[in-house]
């Protein structure tokens, strides 16, 4: 007989809820986005579309308990050159508790209106999160697995107001996407600037679309890898005690506008977690902006 303790059950429930929430919503659309979890490319949301994605990270820090952290991302295409996002973060730690850990608001803007070999995107984010946040959406400074081992009761007392800036450079070359992100993060209350990086490359398994619509066609799959980590901070600009990960990626464009992504990440330094498993599930709503405009018209 399989015995599961209550806290682990809570962790499983939280992860499943995070994974399945988009399925509970109705209305279909389609998109073809890269299966990155940490890296951003220059691909923005189509104007008027809303994408809801859950990004779940599963890990176990040394000396700590299993952690399942989910970030729910609501991404809206304000303009073809401007995407705005809201993240709601939460996590469940086995033998501990399940907590809401905060929110993030971010904007990505393409300053150049044409496609170039290297396309810059400016990224600005405000984070209002507790130290118990374990979504690992970026790794900066001297972040390490010890940060994730603190009990929720202690970690959630520390609240962080942070600003994160990224310079995203991204290229689409011969069906490959290659993206480089340079990250600078600052706790607005105190602390130095912290730096990090994320590099990614992806490619569809087949370039041409098949003549027959098949959910299992190779053109529906995108594979790649990302490499990310911390680069120290302004007090200690060294690679000592920094975390670095390499993570293969696989994305699957499902029917009815859903997208599933999976990535096992492997820590490259002692400070890093040994492994981080990530699962993402996305669902895109078409032309949400138009729903409101139609409403306005009928109201007039």
């Amino acid at each position: 007989m399989l015995l599961v303790d209550a806290s682990r059950l809570s962790l499983i429930r939280c992860s499943l809820l995070g994974l399945c929430l988009p399925f509970l919503l109705v209305h279909s659309a389609a998109g073809q986005e890269k299966p990155y979890f940490v890296t951003y490319s220059h691909e923005l949301e189509e104007p008027g579309n809303l994408e809801i994605e859950t990004k779940t990270a599963l890990a176990r820090p040394d000396g700590g308990n299993h952690v399942g952290a989910t970030a729910m991302e609501l991404e809206y295409g304000v303009r073809a050159w401007w995407t705005s996002e809201l993240y709601l973060d939460g996590q469940a730690t086995s033998r501990d508790s399940t907590v809401f850990t905060g929110f993030r608001i971010e904007n990505r803007v393409r300053p150049l209106m044409q496609e170039h070999v290297i396309n810059p995107v400016l990224y600005v984010e405000y984070e209002n999160i507790a130290a118990s946040d374990k979504t690992l959406l970026e790794v900066v400074g001297h972040d390490g697995q010890s940060d994730l081992a603190a009990p929720n009761s202690t970690a959630r007392r520390e609240h962080e107001h942070e600003a994160e800036l990224r310079l995203i450079l991204s290229s689409n070359l011969r069906d490959w996407n290659i993206a480089e992100n340079f990250i600078a993060e600052k706790n607005l209350g105190h602390s130095p600037w912290e730096f990090g990086y994320a590099l990614g490359a992806t490619r569809p398994l087949r370039s041409a679309a098949g003549a027959h619509d098949s959910a299992f066609g190779l053109d529906k799959f995108i594979a790649g890898a990302e490499l990310y980590g911390g680069l120290g901070d302004t007090v200690s600009l060294t690679l000592g005690d920094t975390s670095h990960y390499i993570a293969p990626l696989l994305g699957w464009q499902l029917p009815r506008g859903m997208r599933l992504s999976f990535s096992p990440g492997f820590g490259l330094t002692e400070t890093s977690l040994n492994r981080v498993y990530r699962v993402g599930l996305a669902y895109e709503f078409n032309q949400v902006g138009g729903w409101f405009r139609s409403g306005n018209r009928s109201a007039q």
Binding site: E46, G48, P111, M113, E115, N172, D175, A209
Partner: protein, 125 residues
């Protein structure tokens, strides 16, 4: 003060670049090399069918089923203008988009799918 001035100058520069990019017709800006490029799927019925699938996945939400447009901001793609340009022009435009006027760049689509899309658009003219 100095920082504010730098920020304003950067914003102005970005705005100027954006306006400069938007001020010419798309087709006038197509480089000669792209204009002359041949569609590897030209006239291929299977590619047109695949292109219709790509269209339905990515374009129909704005340009509507059959590429007939929504009568407003999203134009019909069955037009004299599209008949007049080359396949290379169309592929270039799909890759570039027209960000200033709401058309996303489809450079993220594999090139073969962009050519399939062009084949489909040709087949409905």
């Amino acid at each position: 003060m100095k920082r504010q001035t730098t920020t304003i100058l950067l914003l102005l520069l970005s705005g100027t670049l954006a306006l400069a990019a938007a001020s010419h017709s798309h087709w006038e800006r197509v480089p000669a090399r792209d204009h002359a490029r041949a569609n590897p799927f030209a006239g291929n019925p299977a590619a047109a069918v695949a292109g219709e699938r790509v269209y339905n996945d990515h374009c129909a939400q704005c340009h509507k089923a059959g590429a007939r447009g929504d009568g407003g901001k999203h134009p019909s793609l069955r037009s004299e203008q599209l008949r007049a340009v080359t396949d290379g022009d169309l592929e270039w435009f799909l890759r570039q988009g027209d960000l200033a006027h709401g058309m996303p760049s489809w450079s993220s689509l594999p090139q073969a799918q962009r050519w399939q899309l062009v084949t489909y658009l040709r087949s409905i003219q």
